[in-house]
């Protein structure tokens, strides 16, 4: 009896989490035209960045390993594409529902906010992985990528652990559209641009000014990208990355806890000030 009383609410929350995930899958299918446009945009951007590697070899007139540089840039752009995807899906969930006009309906449902965030985050990770693999497959057709020495399982692990941190960052940034119905999304865009600048996506963070390098230490993307490059370009395995991975995972969990707490405070504020309304 007691076990049933305990399992029923959990089952309800699991169904609700699946509901958020399935809803986003349905929406992705219905907005397939936009998905195609964004995929083409991401692919061409990734290719444009990767070609800088071959271009630099030509401009330098030798002395630069164009293929290695291309792979260096491609890892950065693909990892960033994946992490930013997670960040945007989660951070814009409030803005998206406000635009659709469903925000009050979703926030009035008996499922918990944690379930809401878990369902959305699961979708973000699955969607991000699928999309990034597709871009990688398409990009691989354009370059001869020197992947012989790459430690792919280690790279996958970096990406998964990095996802946790970005889920936390996304939840934290999701507070903005909740507090600022009109400018919130732009604020999350600024945060994403700042992360792109300081995290060494296209260059080593060491080339940044000292104060920016300090900021880079606070960005989980810095560690994910460094780790991915270590695994793919230098073939670094689990023995070399156990400690930084553990630290990244710990930071990610902490970020999720802080993000969820901040989100609950912002939700309460929005309910006090009447900001939990549809727009338009």
């Amino acid at each position: 009896m007691r076990a049933e009383a305990f399992s029923r609410p959990i089952r309800r929350e699991l169904i609700a989490a699946w509901g958020f995930l399935a809803r986003n899958v349905h929406l992705t299918k219905r907005y397939w035209g936009w998905e195609l446009v964004w995929f083409a945009y991401s692919l061409t951007s990734s290719l444009a960045v990767a070609y800088i590697g071959l271009g630099t070899e030509r401009l330098a007139g030798g002395g630069v390993d164009g293929q290695a540089l291309t792979l260096y840039l491609l890892v950065g752009t693909l990892v960033w594409s994946y992490l930013s995807q997670i960040f945007y899906v989660i951070s814009e969930m409030v803005a998206w529902e406000r635009w659709e006009g469903t925000i009050e309906y979703t926030f009035m449902a008996p499922s918990s906010r944690l379930t809401h965030l878990v369902g959305t985050s699961l979708f973000a990770v699955i969607y991000g992985i699928g999309r990034t693999l597709l871009i990688l497959a398409a990009a691989a057709a354009f370059f001869r990528l020197p992947l012989a020495g790459a430690h792919l399982p280690a790279a996958g692990l970096w990406l998964l652990v990095g996802s946790v941190s970005f889920v936390g960052f996304g939840i934290l940034a999701g507070v903005m559209p909740l507090l600022f119905p009109e400018r919130g999304v732009q604020m999350t865009n600024v945060l994403a641009a700042l992360l792109l600048l300081i995290s060494g996506v296209y260059y080593p963070v060491e080339v940044l000014p000292g104060w920016m390098q300090l900021l880079a230490r606070g960005s989980p993307a810095t560690y994910v990208i460094q780790g991915m490059r270590g695994a793919i370009l230098a073939g670094e395995g689990l023995d070399q990355m156990a400690r930084p991975l553990a630290l990244l995972a710990l930071g990610g969990v902490g970020m999720i806890l802080v993000g969820t707490w901040a989100f609950s405070l912002a939700e309460r504020y929005a309910k006090r000030t009447g900001r939990l309304k549809r727009s338009g």
């Binding site: 509901g19 349905h26 219905r30 309906y105 009035m108 499922s111 549809r278």
Partner: protein, 257 residues
């Protein structure tokens, strides 16, 4: 225990620089189980604010409110499991079909897709949404059909308390009548308690057991429609709810709404 009750509810909003607008001022009322209680008032009278507070979407600045004994501020999760709200704007994902929207809504309430699928199709057909429309995006449905889907969503697992925030606004007379019949049927068959806000006097008169008149955030009168009419009757002429509103607020209904 009342199905719904409020005690001295207050809510104000800040508009512009420092200017405070009162949406609700010391509003108190109670609704018995199985009762249809109407909140009548023109635009901006505080009807939607009241419903949003009861639906746990707004936190009041003063006073308290309960749904079947649960405090809407202190026990929001318990309250949410007992209510459903249908509002003027049919809140749906425009690109999703009625079935996909219903499935999403049901899952948020812990109902699995397997249980809901067949029931949703049957319910939509019962409400006059043909099978081919059930799979088309919501944006291709008429306003009346969208509102019926909103009602269907609430009926998938009929809640003990239903909050209807101007559910028939903007509907053609036939759709309006169909939604009203659904409301009456729900109370008759399931014993659902219904709070209905409207600025349609005829609707309030027809389906509500009691009504409360809200004017500039104040509940100025409440009672059964026939009792309110009797209260303002001065000569032998028949009295409408518009006359009641005028007599109790000093304002013409047409001007206010």
């Amino acid at each position: 225990m009342y199905a719904l009750s409020a005690e001295s509810l207050e809510k104000r909003f800040r508009k512009g620089k420092g200017k405070l607008i009162w949406a609700l001022r010391k509003v108190s009322f109670s609704v018995a189980r199985g009762e249809i209680y109407g909140i009548l008032g023109p635009n901006g009278s505080g009807k939607s604010t009241l419903v949003r507070i009861l639906a746990t979407l707004l936190i009041p600045d003063g006073g308290r409110a309960w749904v079947l004994g649960y405090d809407v501020v202190r026990q929001p999760k318990q309250v949410r499991a007992l209510i459903h709200r249908v509002s003027t704007e049919a809140a749906f994902f425009k690109k999703l079909s009625p079935l996909e929207n219903l499935l999403y809504g049901a899952r948020l309430y812990g109902l699995s897709g397997r249980v809901v699928g067949r029931r949703a199709r049957g319910l939509l057909a019962e409400l006059g949404i043909p099978p081919d429309r059930q799979r088309r995006p919501m944006e291709q449905l008429s306003r009346g059909q969208q509102q019926k889907v909103a009602v269907a969503r609430a009926l998938l697992q009929p809640p003990p308390v239903l909050l209807l925030d101007e559910p028939t606004t903007g509907l053609d007379p036939r759709s309006k009548r169909e939604v009203q019949e659904l409301v009456l049927g729900l109370r008759r068959e399931k014993g659902t308690t219904i709070l209905l806000t409207t600025h349609d006097m005829e609707e309030a008169d027809r389906i509500c057991d009691r009504v409360g008149i809200l004017d500039e955030g104040r509940l100025v009168a409440e009672g059964a429609p026939w009792k309110l009419k009797q209260r303002v009757k001065t000569d032998g002429r028949p009295v409408s709810m518009e006359d009641v509103f005028f007599a109790l607020t000093g304002k013409e209904w047409e001007d206010e709404s």
